[in-house]
Amino acid sequence: MKRQPLLHPGLNLGSTDEYSHDVSEPIIFGFWVFLMADLVLFAILFATYASMSVQGQAGGPTPIDVFDLPSAFIETMLLLTSSITFGLASLALKYKADSLHLVFWLVLTFCLGAGFIGMELRDFWVMIEQGAVPQRSGFLSSFFLLVATHGIHVTAGLFWMLVLFLQLRVFGRTTEVKLRLMRLALFWHMLDIVWVCIFTFVYLFGVAQ
């Protein structure tokens, strides 16, 4: 196996699928640029949350009152694990000739992601039951927008994965499908990083105060 130069950051298909590797450069690079734009969006949501989490409470519930830290911790674990399983799926995509491993790890990722969304919706439901609705205060408005934007991203990722399951079945592991899986992987890992920030700055800081 000849070692191919890295054409873009992250996993390269170089040594196992040279054709896909050759065409991947602008496509994966463009997706990195998209992720950067998306991260700017999250950065602004974080900044807004930072400016409103304390000043915008308006005499309503505070972070300690409404955050369920154990639940958020379980969500963190679910999402972090899903990143590992997606990583294994990516390795299977590169090194395994059959789709069995790939699909196995992807299905596991999907289940973990769906579990995360389910837990998050449950958290939201509990908060809304307690009267901690986004209409109550600036703090809650910014909390719901930040966390739900992340949640919507994860949900979009799940839909994307469903479409790719279908494409794996219809087309098999063509170059297009491979490159789409690689982009979904990058998207998924980015959402993980964003969640780590949410867990730290929103949940941990919120409860520590």
Binding site: G30, M36, A37, I44, S51, A58, Q135, L145, R180
Partner: protein
């Protein structure tokens, strides 16, 4: 029950929201003007449809244009959108100047509410639907050719960006007939634009048209940045790129970073208005300063998103029409990059008066003045490019020279405004209005018109009529000075912006001069239209099939006019700056390539129009709370994306034999063309083959 359910099918839309019905029921001068504007738009639409039907143009329009993903066609469509919107926004500007010039101790002809809509649509359209599409269209058409690429990296995404921008423009146009537009200005500051003070559909029209356009621009930015980083011809290193490519790159990077704050700000405003959130409300923890910061975190880089490509155009035009390599290439690149970085450090100067304290203001004031340094470097570089050049004062060059003079004046008033104490005295006055028009009209509009004059022959294969171009130029120039210099004076006299009626008789004379200037600006626009019509009629005497009417320096001049859809029969090998000039001087221009290869080009796709039309429906449905249509159009948009991902045959191959036949035929034609000395470039002698001076 049935009445109620049929009512909800159209959300909160009622017959009274149609401007014609409204005017019929409440006749008045202001309403009449509103209905006439709507009528002109509807008539215009009907005429276009009738003409298309009469000349059987639908098929060509659909197959050659609307579904095309060719970067050149997408670019031209962007510019068409910009021109159409420019016509509306410039008329609105004239109307506002007229209102102000007669409204001294008199209510004038416009109601305050109508006046508010006018300045809101004028500003929003000029920034988002004239300047942005013009700039984006120009980059689309030129940049890939200048770097020796066959298309942008993501052609379909490019078409989708176009359609999202066009959808935003369509929403603003629809607001002319259905309902009202926002009265909150182009910045739409809450809490005024919150639901409490601005109920109704106006602000919602603003929110959704701007949101669509901002998403389109984000996608454009990432597409162009990827293209420039990854699609350059062999040998086209970054420091061999023409300056227009550098400015396109900086603009793309700015778009990637700066559009997100706007998208988020409009989304938050929408959540406040639709769902009772408290981002920018007065009560329950809302904070409108967050809006001001987010908006200008976008808004200031936006100024440079618009101006940098124009700087690129000026660099190309001045260098070409001086017959010289650009002076201080590296310093221009560094200055461009510095401006791009600094543009993120000055947003606060848009609201010095909103209470952040003296030290913060001082820092941002200094940062603002710093931007003058790289801009000054550029001005000197352009001047020094002209020194000892063989200058030809074509229309494009006239616009560039007038830009230099006028822009420096505007820049100086900008440095004045960057002093927080001065800013406190004149903020929100007509001084400010004069200042930013003084930057944007020469800095963006003149640049785009210069680029349009310069590259028109490339895009359509014939030169524009210089005579009418020059008439237009003088109208724009005098019109600009007559309109906006009085506004500086008025601002210093204490006249505030966005005022519908005055009570100070000493304003009258200045306002009348300003109105005359506005009429001149409008005639400048009309003469551009005349120029276009005249040039189309005389196109056979103006053709430049050889493709190089101005003795151009960069690669886009090395192919035919108009270029083939694949741009280059064979991707050129670049050996240095001013790539085409080098090729010409080495005597290698129009040489037959050794070998031809098959060329892969993207197929047309209906995905972009589907997304665009669904986006119009989506925005309209959100404005009028037609929830079923919101869901339906959302599903259409994403359904189109997903369906597209199942299409595998997205490209077609142009066989090498066809490329060879076409290219050799063109080369043969060029070799038979007489060369044009520069003195005769505006005569029918010029068929696009330049005389080479070595």
């Amino acid at each position: 029950m049935t009445a109620e359910s049929s009512f909800s099918l159209l959300g909160i839309l009622t017959a009274q929201d149609i401007s014609f019905v409204h005017t019929f029921e409440h006749p008045g001068m202001s309403e009449f003007i509103d209905a006439s504007a709507g009528g002109v738009m509807v008539m215009g639409g009907i005429i276009v449809i009738a003409l298309l039907t009469y000349y059987r143009g639908w098929h060509a329009l659909w197959c050659d244009w609307l579904t095309s993903v060719d970067h050149k066609k997408v670019g031209i469509m962007y510019v068409v959108v910009a021109f159409v919107m420019l016509a509306r926004a410039i008329i609105e500007g004239v109307l506002m100047r007229y209102q102000q010039s007669i409204a001294v101790n008199d209510p004038g002809i416009l109601s305050p509410d109508h006046f508010g809509q006018l300045f809101s649509t004028h500003g929003s359209i000029m920034i988002f639907f004239v300047a942005m599409p013009f700039v984006t269209g120009m980059m689309n058409y030129i940049m890939p050719q200048q770097i020796g690429a066959r298309d942008v990296s993501f052609p379909l995404l490019n078409a989708i960006s176009l359609w999202l921008t066009a959808a935003g423009a369509a929403l603003v146009m629809i607001s002319l007939v259905v309902g009202k537009f926002s009265t909150g200005g182009w910045t739409a500051y809450p809490p005024y634009t919150g639901i409490e003070f601005s109920p109704g559909e106006g602000v919602d029209y603003w929110i959704w048209s701007i949101s669509l356009a901002s998403i389109g621009s984000t996608l454009t930015g990432l597409n162009f940045a990827t293209t420039i980083y990854k699609n350059r011809a062999p040998g086209m290193t970054l420091f061999r790129m023409p300056l227009f490519c550098w400015t396109s790159l900086c603009t793309s990077v700015l778009m990637i970073f700066a559009m997100a704050p706007l998208t988020i700000a409009t989304l938050m405003l929408a959540l406040d208005r639709y769902a009772g959130f408290h981002f920018f409300t007065n009560d329950l923890g809302g904070n409108m300063m967050n809006y001001a910061n987010l908006f200008w975190l976008f808004g200031h880089p936006e100024v440079y998103i618009l101006i940098l490509p124009a700087f690129g155009v000026f660099s190309e035009v001045i260098s070409t029409f001086s017959g010289k390599t650009i002076y201080g290439y590296k310093s221009l690149v560094i200055a461009t990059m510095s401006i791009a970085v600094l543009s993120f450090t000055v947003w606060l100067h848009h609201f010095f008066t909103m209470g952040q304290g003296a030290n913060v203001n001082a820092i941002f004031g200094i940062a603002t003045m710093l931007i003058g340094v790289p801009t000054g470097v550029k001005v000197y570089d352009w001047l020094l490019t002209m020194v000892r050049g063989r200058i030809r004062l074509t229309t494009a060059m006239l616009f560039s020279v007038m830009f230099l003079v006028t822009f420096v004046i505007g820049g100086l008033t900008g440095v004045v405004l960057a002093n927080p104490p001065v800013d406190f005295a004149v903020h929100n006055s007509l001084f400010l209005v004069a200042h930013f028009h003084n930057m944007v009209i020469p800095g963006v509009l003149f640049g785009m018109i210069a680029g349009y004059q310069f590259w028109f022959p490339k895009a359509f294969g014939f030169r524009l009529a210089e005579r009418w171009g020059k008439v237009s130029f003088w109208c724009w120039s005098f019109g600009f000075y007559l309109t906006f210099m009085p506004l500086y004076v008025l601002g210093l006299m204490g006249a505030m912006r966005r005022t519908v009626e005055w009570f100070r008789p000493e304003y009258l004379g200045w306002l009348q001069v300003s109105f005359v200037g506005a009429l001149l600006l409008f005639s400048g626009f009309l003469f551009l239209c005349v120029q276009l019509v005249v040039s189309i009629r005389q196109r056979d005497q103006r053709r430049v099939p050889a493709g190089d009417p101005w003795d151009g320096r960069s690669l886009e001049w090395s192919n035919s006019s108009p270029p083939p859809e694949y741009n280059f029969a064979v991707i050129p090998d670049v050996t240095g700056q001013d790539a085409f000039t080098r090729i010409k001087q080495q005597g290698q221009a129009y040489a037959s390539p050794i070998a031809y290869e098959d060329i892969v080009v993207p197929k047309n796709s209906i995905v972009a129009p589907v997304i665009g039309i669904a986006a119009i429906m989506f925005g309209f449905a959100l404005v009028w709370h037609i929830w079923w249509l919101v869901v339906f159009s959302f599903v259409c948009m994403w359904g189109a994306v997903i369906a597209r991902s199942f299409v595998t045959e997205t490209e077609r191959v142009i066989p090498a034999s066809k490329v060879r036949a076409d290219n050799e035929a063109w080369l043969q034609q060029v070799r038979e063309c007489a060369t044009t000395p520069r003195e005769q470039e505006n005569t029918s002698v010029n068929v696009g083959r330049a005389e080479v001076l070595t």
